[in-house]
């Protein structure tokens, strides 16, 4: 391989790295450069606005037909206890389960996702992914599992 190819390649690499780091620095949804734990891969929803539902709203919508409730916690946590009627699609299984989701859930259906509680970002990330795939009616139940059980609501095992 000649020197020219290598030096040109190095120039392009440097340009790409500079752009990547600079744009990430100025983005509101920039990624941390070094990731320590899987959950820290995060990004904001479209236009940095997330569509959320409160506990009261979820309670009102509870068990209504046509609403899909997705629990994005791990299968182990889900098996232990979960909100009745919820289905489990853990965040890290998303790409694996996507074809199945797309077959069974229509794009117009209302979807509510939740995870452990306010401090977890998996539900928000899952909502973003679903949104990116074409599901336009996705909402996040921010309070999540924590708030649901604090309010002594019924659970399913």
């Amino acid at each position: 391989m000649n020197k020219k190819k290598l030096s040109e390649g190095a120039i392009i690499f440097l340009i790409a790295v500079s752009f990547a780091l600079l744009t990430n620095l100025f983005r509101s949804d920039g990624l941390p450069l070094v990731q320590i734990k899987p959950a820290s891969v995060s990004f904001s929803t479209k236009n940095n606005q997330e569509s959320t539902v409160s506990f009261e709203v979820l309670k009102g919508k509870f068990k209504k037909p046509g609403i899909i409730l997705i629990d994005v916690r791990s299968p182990q946590e889900f098996k232990k206890e979960h909100i009745p009627w919820a289905i489990n699609i853990s965040y890290h299984e998303f790409s694996e389960k996507l074809p199945e989701i797309m077959k069974q859930i229509s794009f117009s259906q209302e979807i509510i996702v939740y995870c452990g509680g306010i401090e977890c970002s998996d539900a928000k990330n899952m909502a973003f992914l679903l949104n990116a795939k074409g599901y336009k009616n996705v909402k996040v139940y921010k309070g999540g599992w924590g708030e649901w059980t604090q309010n002594n609501m019924s659970v399913e095992k």
């Binding site: 690499f13 340009i15 752009f19 973003f128």
Partner: protein, 171 residues
């Protein structure tokens, strides 16, 4: 062997070789690869988080490198694609594109061998194909095009050529 058949075969071989090494074939290859790489980079640049997740699924990179990889790779794809289309820093662009394709082939091949059932994450979010032999073959075809450009590009309609000419004429 029938001498006529032998001559015919040799002629066909020569014809195919002529087409493969033809400068316009390399130009076509440059355009096709440029478009593919620019297109592939867009969504990854807009949503590096989603791409980071897709990259993580391959379980090839240590966790601390995933975000850096997800941030840099799309820009590398974009600049290599643009430069290849324009014929600017062509040799470096095609070198990077070849290296990227080898990396993609390795990642997808190893996912297949390890039996990891994941989406490729290559053309997010419109195309989410599962990693399969077919996808690997598609990449191989792209790799052959990239190799053809790597070895046979004569910089037809390229900025590199234009810059060199103007530099020579100014001397």
């Amino acid at each position: 062997m029938d001498p006529k058949q032998y001559v015919g075969g040799k002629m066909r071989e020569g014809f195919i070789k002529k087409i493969i090494v033809h400068p316009y074939a390399a130009l076509l290859g440059r355009i096709v690869l440029g478009i593919i790489f620019i297109y592939a980079s867009f969504y990854k640049i807009l949503h590096p988080g989603i791409f980071a997740l897709a990259a993580m699924d391959y379980k090839l990179l240590p966790l601390f490198m995933v975000n850096l990889f997800a941030l840099i790779l799309p820009w590398l794809e974009l600049f290599s694609g643009i430069f290849l289309l324009l014929g600017f820093l062509t040799e470096g662009s095609i070198l990077i594109i070849n290296l990227l394709i080898i990396m993609f082939l390795f990642a997808k091949g190893s996912a297949l061998v390890r039996g990891i059932d994941i989406n490729c994450g290559c053309l997010l979010p419109w195309v989410v194909p599962k990693i399969s032999i077919r996808l690997l073959l598609q990449d191989l075809v792209i790799f052959f095009v990239a190799l053809q450009v790597f070895f046979c590009d004569r910089k037809v309609l390229s900025l590199d050529k234009l810059i060199r000419r103007s530099a020579q004429s100014s001397k």
